[in-house]
Every structure is written in C-alpha cells, then in structure tokens.
Symmetry: C2
Subunit: 442 residues, 2 copies
C-alpha cells in the first residue's frame, strides 16, 4: 500500500501539461497553489517562465518527485513514463484522454506495461484527477473539495466534476476525491482497500458504471464494510443506459440485477443518484447504525411532520405512539393543546425548551428522532439548533433534523452540523436516509 | 365570484391585530408596506401611533374597507365581524387560531353564521394569510412570495410558510398564495374555481390533508384541468399520518386509496412532497403537455446522462436510438468520436454550436429533449444556455435542462429561465417531471 499512500500524501508533485492560461496544466497549478498544497509543486513545460508564483521547469532531471500528474497528448506519454520510471517515480495520475474509451486498447496496454516494468502505479488515463483535503492536494482541474469525512471515487470524470460543484453548493465536504477513469492499473478495489484504513474517511462513496473484476471487488467490499460503510451509485441500469455506458467508457456494464444482488450481499448501500448519495453520506458520517425502526417525530409544524410520517411508514418504519406512562410525563412538561401523540406537534409552543425536553423524555422509547422545525417570526432557529445539539450529547440516540428552509435557517443548519446533527431539506428525505441506515444495521 | 375577487384585488386592506413589534399585526403591515401594496393599508389597533410610516387607526368607522385581515383573540371576533358586516365589508381573512382545530366547533359555527348573515366571505380561521404578487398584496406574516405563475393553496399554514421559504431559495415564484386553514367558509373548491380564470395563474398547486366535500371538489377539478393543470400533495397517507392530520386540523383524513383513485379520475397530478411539487410546476408552466414518450438526451457529460437515461427508462419513457438517416446527418455535423446514439454525448466538444445543432436535427424524432451540461474551464455555460433558448423558439418541442451545478451555472440557469427552459438539479429529477406530464397528456 506504500505506493497508494504516495498518491494522497506526496511531498512533491510534478505537473506535465500545457501551462498556457485556461489549459489543463494552468488550471491544476492554480488549484494546487490557491488550495495551499503543503508540499512542493513542480510545473513542467517547455514554455518555462512562472505561473502563480511558481517556476515552470523546462526539464525534470534535478527534481525529486513523489507524484506526477500528466495531461500531455497520448503519444508522448509512453516515453515520459519510461523516463520517470527509470528515475524512480512510482505514482502517476494520467488525465489525458484518447485511450481505450475511443478504442485505443493497445496504447493503453503499453502504458500499463511500462508502469509494471517500473513498479509504478497509475490512476487513469482519461480521468479528472485526485484530491486529498487533509494536505490540500488538489491535483485536478475540478472545483476544489471542501474538507469532510466522505471519500468519493468515480469512474466518470464529468460526474465527479458535477458532484464537486453540487457539494460546494451544499457545503458538503470530502476527505479524498478520486476520478480513476479507464483504470488501466489502480481500480476501485485498490482505492477501497486504501480508504478502509484512511483515518480521515468515515464513509466511502463510489460511482461506477461497470466492474471488471466483480469477485475481487465484492470480497474487498465485504471486508471494508466491517470498518466503514460503502455507498454506491451503479449507473447503466437500463438498456439504453448500458448502451451509453459501454460507448463512453468502454467498460462492460453487465446485467443490473446481478449488481443489485451482489451489492446487497456485500453490504453495500446502493443509491439511485447523486442527491441520494449526499443525503445518505451526511447521515452515515454521524450515525453508521440505527438499531431499531421506532421513529419519534418532534415538530412545531403539523403539515411537514405529516409528510415525513407518511414517508416513514411507507418505507416500513414505525411512527409509533408513546406508552401511557410517557404520555403522562409529556402531559406534565408540555403546554395544553400540544399533541401527546407521535408526531409530537408542539405547535406555536415549539421553543428550545419544549423541543429539547420532548426529545429527552421520548428518547428511551424511540430508536431515532427527527426534529422538524419551521421558523416563525418569534423564534430564533439558531437557539433551537444549539439546544438540540446539546441534547444529542446526552440522549445517545440518533437525532436528525429538517429545519425548513432557506435563509431563515442557514445559520441554524451550520449550528446543527457543528454538533453532528444532519439537516435535510424535507422530512421525507430524512426518512429515506433513516430507512437505508436501519436496513443496513440489521 | 365578485367577493373572491375582492380577496385578491382589494383597493384597501384593514388589519385588526396587535401592532407591537414582532406581533402578527406588525409583521403583516411590514410585509404589506415593504412589499409595495398598491392599495390603501389601514392598521387598526387601540394603540394608535404610526407603523412603517402608516397611521394606526383607533377605530374604523370612517374607513372604506375592501378586505379585512383579523388576528385578534378569538372571543373578540364575532362582535367585530357583526360590526364590519353591517358596514358592508364582504371579505375577511381570519388568521387567529383556537377554533375547530382545538375542538371549539361552536365558536367556529358562530363566525360562519355571522358571515352568512352579512353575505361576507371568510378565509380561515387558523390560517397564515393570503398573497397576490400581481398587486403586491402580502396579507401574511410569512416570507413574501416572488412573482410567478403558480398559485399555491394550502390547508396547513406552517407548510405554507416552509414552501414560501424554500421557493425563495429556489427563485420559484407564485401568482397567488392562500393558506385557508379551517376553511369555515371559503374552501379549496372556491379557490380552484376562482384560479381557473385567473390570468396570472398557469398552474394550480395545492396541499391538502382532507376534503369535506369530495364530490364537489372532484367535479370542479375535472372542469378546471381542461384549462390549467392541478398539482396536489395529499398528506395523511399512512395510519400515523392520518392520526396526526385529524389531531392538528380537525379534518377527516379518509382512506388514502380513495383519494388516489379520485385524483387520477379527475386528472389531478398527485405528487409526494414539496420538492416534487416545485419540480413539476416548473415544468408545467412551460409545457402543460408532452405528446409522446420518445426522449432525446443531449449532453457533454457521460455519467450524468446515463443516470438520467436509467431513470427515464425505469419510468417507462424511451431513450430510443435515432433513425439511420438521422445518424447520417449527425455524422456530418458533429466531430469524430462523438456518440451518434441516444444519449448524444458531445464529450469535450459540447459547445453552443454542437448543442444547438444536435437539438435542431434530432427534434423531429423526439417528443422532448433533455440537455445535460457539466461546465468545464473552457466553456461558458451562459452562452450555451442562451443558444438553447433561441433553439427552443424554433424547434417547437419541449426542451428541459440539467445544468450541473452550483455557482458555475447560476447565471446560465437564470438565462434558461428567461427563455422558458426549466432547469433541474439532476437529470433524474427532470425525467420524473417529463414522465408525469406525459402520463397526464394522454
């Protein structure tokens, strides 16, 4: 695993690419410098000169290089790899496209052969690069990831780019980002194996269109999920989707049902798309397991709570009524008119005080609690968020939130995050996450 | 319908409520003044003084009032209504709670009786007010709606507030907003009937928990959908949801399956939650009908297009291959390596030129087109958005978009909106909208 480590924690990175404004090399160096990479950055290009305050090296003979990022035309790559390999470079990310994905199988094989000869590991070709937010390594032209606890690995570079942009918008962070493209060498299995022991990663998320070595993948996944959850999007379910998949990555998509069954068996959490992936990862980071299916809903807002309740029950979870003794406790601590049933609707009395006291007393009877809050003129949502955060530390049951919505709850949501309470746009989305985690906890 | 018209286009509005800072009256006057209401605003309260530059009237004997908004304690409402009724006021919105929803059935009946005597129409009680963005009427404490072409009517006031906040975040606008609460007089049917002929409204969206007069509702809906689509969230599907519904609005929820069948029969588009409602309304505003199920997907990004394709086919739509003759046309106009199959993946060649020429030539063979675009360093997404807008005017087939994502496409999405192209966070969400509209067009 030594060589995998160098990909993510290199002391020095050399970038072989055009450094002209707007070109790949330029964008990567920009990301590396602006992102504050902690090691050395060596742009390499015949142009010479300077870029973002860093010298561009005309050759690399005197450089000590841990990791190379390559984005030069395909025909120049084999001799460069030979040269780098003979100088002891052991890790290369090849961004350049134009290999097996356009039918150039032999060209890709050649690269693989050279790498093997020099015991060099390769990510790519035809990929969007890699990131490690822990050491500010942004070896990619994509939007820089925010720091976080989810590692995302993707077969599709463009999808990776879209995910990074959506994540930025959501304030969702990543520990690592890897676009592995045509995986001529490093594949999903190598990456999952590496991430299994990565202390910055709590959840591994992946986007795949097809696997080449299904058995090896599943064996690794089965082992990894004992340590941390794996969430997967498998695209190419439909006939037309499969057709498209094989045309744009050259990988065999295979029958979807087989994947579905295999994922279940391996304990991989399959999601349909990117939004569901974000939702689920946000929950798993804090709550890898939910032990039972009795869910308490605490709210100041009837309508949204009913929608969440409908979704919870549709998904097989139970919004069960409190015991008589719990009802008696609630009757004592809550104002009149407040519903003593589940969902616990605090109406206009939904304050930091009533939200937290309700959560505290109901916690022993429920396996998870969803708090649904709609701000009103008289209530400070940030105060409620903070109070819930403190309750969470005491009750030792998963608390989820749906603070609705927009600018009035932005700060409250940040506050919730500090305390490890994930917030969802709607209670229904929250319900879906709880169901997935619960099903995976049995 | 004269009296309904006065609710939405009054020349003068009197607000009976506490005008102290942070209280309901204060917040409503604030919304009315800041929102720029085009008629007269008469705050009425014993306090006197001024509020937001408007005089507070100690009594209302000399005021000419079209519409009254009432948020005083319940016991004072009957004599006030008597007084207002005898002075010829015909429209009242009662925001005050504490009626049938907390078991005070008789008190609500009394209000209804007084209203009937004076031929007065009442919205509420226990509601969050009304808005008409056409004349800047914001008779509510909720976040002011942006102007738009969807009318939203809701039984739950809190859900109404959450919807307005989510909409503001999305830049989604409304023609009218009505929270009708306990509907002691004006109900869904009256509102739908009124909105059917409202020129500012293209789509009617509603949130309901239960109907009192199912047959009357369905008869009206059947008539209205001939003119404009109706989208409905019906909450209280599950047992726990129904229990919660009857506790917090006092309405009978009824068996969900009956609603489902009745909605289908009446041509009402049922959605599961608020996000799906927004998505569908954004599509319906521009495309009330989609005539066939052959969908073309044009993209610069393989992965996201495969996910959209999977969802389209899962939902019974066809991402069908182009005819041989169309393939030949595409071969001539597009660069090599570009996929000539559907999804049409333009790869790194996805420019304004290739996007528009592809849309133009494929339009005759498809019933709707989804364009999926992931920005790259070298492409200006706004230019592509504008080019697609112009193509839309020519091809006369529905064009949808999923420009992914975040700040890099914000301006492009605004541009798309100008041309009436709805944009979705993901192609999958777009697929769901197309399927709903298509199914409703047969």
């Amino acid at each position: 695993m030594k060589s995998m480590e160098i990909f993510f924690n290199p002391h020095s990175v050399a970038i072989f690419a055009s450094m002209k404004e707007g070109k790949t090399g330029y964008e990567i160096v920009k990301n590396m410098v602006e992102g504050g990479f902690k090691g050395k950055i060596y742009p390499v290009s015949q142009s010479g000169g300077q870029i973002f305050g860093v010298n561009i090296n005309k050759d690399f003979k005197n450089l000590e290089i841990d990791l190379v990022i390559i984005a030069i035309p395909g025909q120049f790559i084999p001799p460069l790899l030979e040269d780098l390999g003979s100088r002891g470079v052991r890790s290369a990310v090849i961004i350049s496209a134009g290999f097996s994905e356009v039918g150039k199988i032999e060209e890709e094989k050649e690269i693989k052969k050279i790498a093997k000869k020099h015991q060099m590991r390769i990510i790519g070709p035809n990929c969007a690069g890699i990131m490690n937010t822990d050491c500010n390594l942004f070896a990619s032209i994509e939007v820089r990831a925010l720091p976080g606890e989810t590692a995302f690995i993707t077969q599709s570079g463009a999808l990776g780019g879209a995910v990074l942009m959506m994540a930025e918008e959501l304030g969702f962070g990543f520990s690592k980002f890897v676009s592995y493209g045509n995986r001529c060498d490093v594949d999903e299995v190598d990456l999952i194996k590496y991430l299994e022991d990565d202390p910055q990663t709590k959840v591994i998320a992946l986007y795949i269109e097809g696997l080449e070595e299904g058995r090896r993948f599943l064996a690794q996944a089965k082992k990894t999920v004992l340590k941390k959850p794996i969430v997967a999007i498998k695209a190419g379910k439909s006939k037309a989707g499969m057709r498209a998949t094989s045309s744009h990555t050259g990988s065999l998509a295979g029958e979807d049902k087989i994947y579905d069954a295999a994922f279940k068996q391996a304990g991989i959490l399959r999601v349909e798309g990117v939004e569901e992936m974000f939702d689920l990862c946000r929950g798993l980071i804090y709550y890898p397991k939910i032990k039972g299916n009795k869910i308490g809903v605490v709210t100041n807002s009837g309508g949204p709570a009913v929608l969440a309740t409908d979704k919870l029950e549709e998904l097989g979870l139970m919004v069960s009524e409190p015991s008589e003794s719990l009802k008696n406790v609630l009757k004592e601590i809550l104002p009149p008119h407040v519903s003593l049933g589940n969902p616990f609707d605090l109406l206009a009395y939904g304050s930091a005080e009533t939200f937290t006291s309700t959560c505290k007393v109901i916690a022993p009877e429920y396996d998870a609690i969803i708090t649904i809050f709609v701000p009103t003129a008289s209530m400070d949502s940030t105060v409620i968020a903070r109070a819930l955060g403190k309750v969470k530390e005491k009750i030792k049951k998963p608390i989820f939130a749906s603070f609705m919505a927009g600018r009035l709850v932005k700060e409250a949501i940040r506050e919730l995050k500090k305390y490890g309470i994930p917030n969802y746009e709607t209670g229904e989305r929250c319900a879906k996450v709880i169901q997935k985690i619960y099903k995976n906890s049995r």
